[in-house]
């Protein structure tokens, strides 16, 4: 049986603090008050930081895929003996630091599992991603209820889903039950020094059942893949579905599973400071994303870009890797300036494709 531990109601910050010992980076959700609206983001644990257990506005994707990272630095230098001789020095940038993502939600954890496939299981593993991922431990907090925009259970996850998590925390009366789901999780719990919680596990199971019971039943998405394929060339359908889209890209940057990036060289190899090669988030909602050097753009219209996004998540990624590239966290809906609803698009496609597939 997997390891079970128990921590009292006020014990989570202490646990985060103990995990942070020894130079480990512990990303905890914190509420950032703002002049206009608060947002919950993951920040490295420091003593005195005020943790929250609210669902984060921004998923912890940055733990493995930072918003911007330096892949390498480069510098050209001239040989003082022979000025015609120059050498280009390339320096690879160091690998990831041991990290714990603490108290994320199962949908966030599911995001890591989704990213693993293209980055680790393809023809080539991405060394930068791999270095971070191997040192990452995911400690998730199961959800007690769903919300208006949550649909994790539509896409193979759920409020208590263990996919992608090394440890699952479930809130019960008087505290939290921690359950190790993987070897990494067991190690973490072993080292935590927390008391055994096996006797409280039935309470956690009951809480998890209650969470599932609070959800509205999920519609059947089995036909999604075939339906999207069938609807691909129906321009009128896609234009109507995306009429209100502003093509900004907020949906992709707040998505735990979106992983597109751009690579840019900045700086000059000749200058004393040299230059660096950056990898930064990119998004398929931007028209520059597909614009070719010739000036040709295969997806110049916003409906084509949104069609690509939805099709990638519910058709082409599942075709290549199995599961959906969507963990149902609903952040794309909540953070969209016009509340564009990806659930509605998929369901509409399924309905419109009836008879075609």
């Amino acid at each position: 049986m997997s390891k079970i531990r128990f921590v009292a109601s006020d014990g989570l910050p202490g646990l985060a603090a103990s995990l942070a010992k020894g130079g480990r980076r512990v990303l905890v959700p914190v509420e950032k008050p703002a002049a206009s609206k608060p947002s919950v983001v993951f920040a490295p644990y420091e003593p005195g930081i005020k943790m929250t257990l609210a669902k984060a506005t921004v998923p912890p994707k940055e733990a493995v895929l930072p918003e911007c990272e330096t892949l390498m630095t480069f510098q050209k230098s001239r040989d003082p003996a022979d000025l015609n001789q120059t050498t280009l020095a390339l320096t690879a940038v160091e690998e990831g630091v041991p990290t714990v993502v603490f108290a994320c939600r199962p949908c966030d954890a599911r995001g890591f599992a989704a990213l693993d496939k293209p980055f680790l299981e393809g023809l080539y593993a991405d060394p930068y991603y791999k270095a971070r991922r191997e040192k990452l431990t995911v400690v998730s907090l199961t959800c007690a209820t769903g919300c208006e925009t949550c649909f994790c259970h539509w896409v193979g996850g759920g409020p208590t889903s263990p996919i992608g998590s090394d440890v699952l925390i479930t809130e019960i009366e008087g505290g939290y039950v921690l359950q190790a789901m993987t070897g990494k999780g067991e190690e973490l719990l072993e080292a935590s020094g927390l008391p055994d919680g096996a006797d409280k596990f039935p309470l956690a199971e009951a809480a998890r059942k209650a969470a599932w019971a609070s959800l509205v039943p999920a519609p059947d998405l089995k036909a999604a893949q075939e339906s999207l394929k069938a609807m691909f060339e129906d321009t009128a359908f896609w234009e109507a579905e995306t009429a209100r889209c502003l093509s900004c890209g907020a949906c992709t940057y707040f998505c735990p599973t979106c992983y597109c990036f751009n690579i840019t060289d900045e700086g000059e190899p000749q200058s004393p400071c040299g230059g660096r090669r950056l990898r930064s988030w990119d998004n398929c909602m931007s028209s520059l994303y597909t614009r070719e050097a010739s000036g040709h753009n295969p997806r110049p219209e916003k409906y084509q870009r949104m069609r690509n996004r939805v099709s990638h998540k519910f058709w082409t990624y599942p075709e290549n890797w199995g599961p959906y590239l969507c963990s149902g966290c609903g952040r794309c809906i909540t953070n969209c300036p016009v509340c564009l609803d990806i659930r509605a698009i998929v369901l509409d496609a399924v309905a419109a494709a009836k008879g075609k597939v």
Binding site: A34, A35, S39, T57, E148, A250, T252, L340
Partner: protein, 481 residues
């Protein structure tokens, strides 16, 4: 350089090829001694000096920036420096809001023959920068999180629009629809507490139209993409100002757009609503009376009074009715304009320069550069060709520092100078709640001050002040020093 390390400061000079660069040359030929802190960049005309050059230099570590060109009425290109004068004045008014001392930037006029004057200008400006010392860097600023005081009184009554003439509006749209491709309005979104844009093509679509304080979106953002096509749009007062501005800039044709309007009683600030509800909740129901919205979420009832929870922009709104419309419904509301500082701007006004820099640093650290602010802005019309993500020219780093992000916001704000109508969509759209509207409000205040109280998007016939000039500027001194 190493000899002078620590003694010399970094000053960037943008000099017009025809006058000031010649003036500096004349000074050199005359062996007029000059401080060596100034790095000269030769430009064809001060009209070529984009305000972004100045902000970029200052954000990236210059201690001072000097722009110098031909005397007014003496431009090689006739009017380049007239345009420059307006832009440079605006950028000087803007700098303090992001925590940069405006004394670090100066512009002046020096002709090619005025070698001696050039010497004086450089000596004086360099001495001033030395008095100020090295410029504080955003990187070193102490992050500051502060909340604006949102307790405000409004210039006009705020409410929920319960008695609005929605039925008449629907009838009118249905009657007009056969002539139009569609009419843009609002419908209920994924729950009862959100509305989303609606494109009405059939009478059945019109039945979905809703009116009230949840209609936060400014629908004018969609109009430029339909230029040349017959469309209709339902507007609040602030949205109509965006339409007036789009007309001013000829981005849409008046004869193509049919505008339906109802006087607006204010829109809810969903940011403040979500602070109480939580962002990830289940909405059970929404009910309204004349003064408030009651939202039941996760079984708990929350009452939001419109006078306390309207968007910041609503309190100072002087145009609850549309400034331009084809069909109007409901009773017009008269508003007497009065002095009014929006809450976030008032908060910044009360801070020191150092605090403002720390404030923006803390705010920008949350920015993900998702560009929701840009794409929700009805006046951001470059969109697919925005310099923030262009590689050629490569104006912005892909880096994720607060400085890069603040620079993007500065680009957005400066590109809206004299054009921003204050609809607040940038700030509303920001998923992480950065109060970026304050930057635009500062620009609008500067434009009002410099150009005789000019307000954007009021008169569709007016020319935006930065797209024109006056030979004699009533509110700009031609030469301060």
């Amino acid at each position: 350089m190493p000899v002078l390390e620590g003694k010399e400061l970094r000053i960037v000079g943008f000099l017009c090829n025809w006058c000031s660069y010649g003036g500096a040359d004349t000074a050199g030929v005359a062996r007029a001694g000059q401080p060596t802190d100034l790095r000269v960049i030769r430009v064809p005309c001060t009209g070529r000096v984009d305000p972004l050059f100045i902000v970029k230099a200052l954000l990236e570590g210059a201690d001072g920036v000097l722009v110098s060109g031909c005397h007014p009425r003496d431009c090689h290109y006739s009017v380049g420096n007239f345009y420059a004068r307006r832009r440079l004045e605006v950028v000087r008014e803007f700098l303090p809001v992001i925590g940069i001392d405006p004394r670090r930037f100066a512009y002046t006029w020096v002709s090619a023959s005025e070698g001696q004057r050039w010497q004086e200008v450089v000596q004086k400006f360099t001495a001033e920068i030395h008095d100020l010392g090295p410029a504080p860097r955003l990187e070193d600023a102490k992050p500051l999180l502060r909340l604006a005081d949102m307790a405000l009184t409004s210039l006009h009554p705020l409410g929920t629009g319960e008695k609005a003439a929605l039925a008449e509006l629907k009838e009118a749209i249905k009657a007009k629809l056969p002539e139009l491709e569609f009419v843009i309005g609002w419908q209920q979104g994924y729950d009862a507490a959100h509305t989303v844009p609606l494109f009405m093509k059939t009478p059945e679509d019109v039945d979905k139209l809703v009116w009230g304080p949840l209609n936060v979106n400014n629908l004018a953002v969609y109009l430029p993409q339909f230029k040349g096509r017959k469309v209709g749009i339902v507007v609040k007062g602030c949205d109509s100002r965006s339409i007036a501005e789009l007309l001013q800039e000829k981005l849409i044709n008046r004869e193509d757009v049919t505008i339906f309007s109802i006087p607006c009683e204010g829109v809810l600030d969903m940011a403040r609503v979500n602070t109480e509800l939580g962002r990830y909740t289940k909405i059970d129901s929404v009910t309204m009376d004349e003064a408030s919205v009651t939202i039941t979420a996760d079984g708990k009832e929350h009452r939001f009074c419109m006078t306390e929870c309207a968007q910041g922009k609503c309190y100072g709104c002087t145009t609850p009715g549309a400034v331009i419309a084809d069909q109007r419904f409901g009773t017009p509301v008269e508003v007497t304009p009065a002095a009014h500082t929006p809450p976030e701007l008032a908060m910044l006004d009360a801070m020191s320069l150092e605090e403002r820099m720390g404030f923006w640093k803390a705010q920008m650290e949350r920015c993900l550069r998702c560009y929701a602010c840009r794409n929700a802005c009805p006046m951001c019309v470059c969109r697919d060709y925005c310099i923030s993500d262009a590689r050629d020219p490569h104006w912005m780093s892909q880096g994720e520092s607060a400085r890069d992000k603040l620079f993007f916001q500065t680009i957005h704000a400066l590109h809206l100078a004299g054009r921003c109508t204050g609809c607040g969509e940038c700030q509303r759209a920001c998923p992480v709640g950065i109060p970026i509207l304050a930057l635009r409000q500062q620009i609008a205040r500067a434009v009002g001050k410099l150009f005789g109280g000019y307000q954007s998007g009021i008169n569709p016939e007016a020319i935006p002040p930065l797209l024109t000039y006056a030979v004699e500027e009533p509110h700009i001194h031609e030469r301060d020093w």
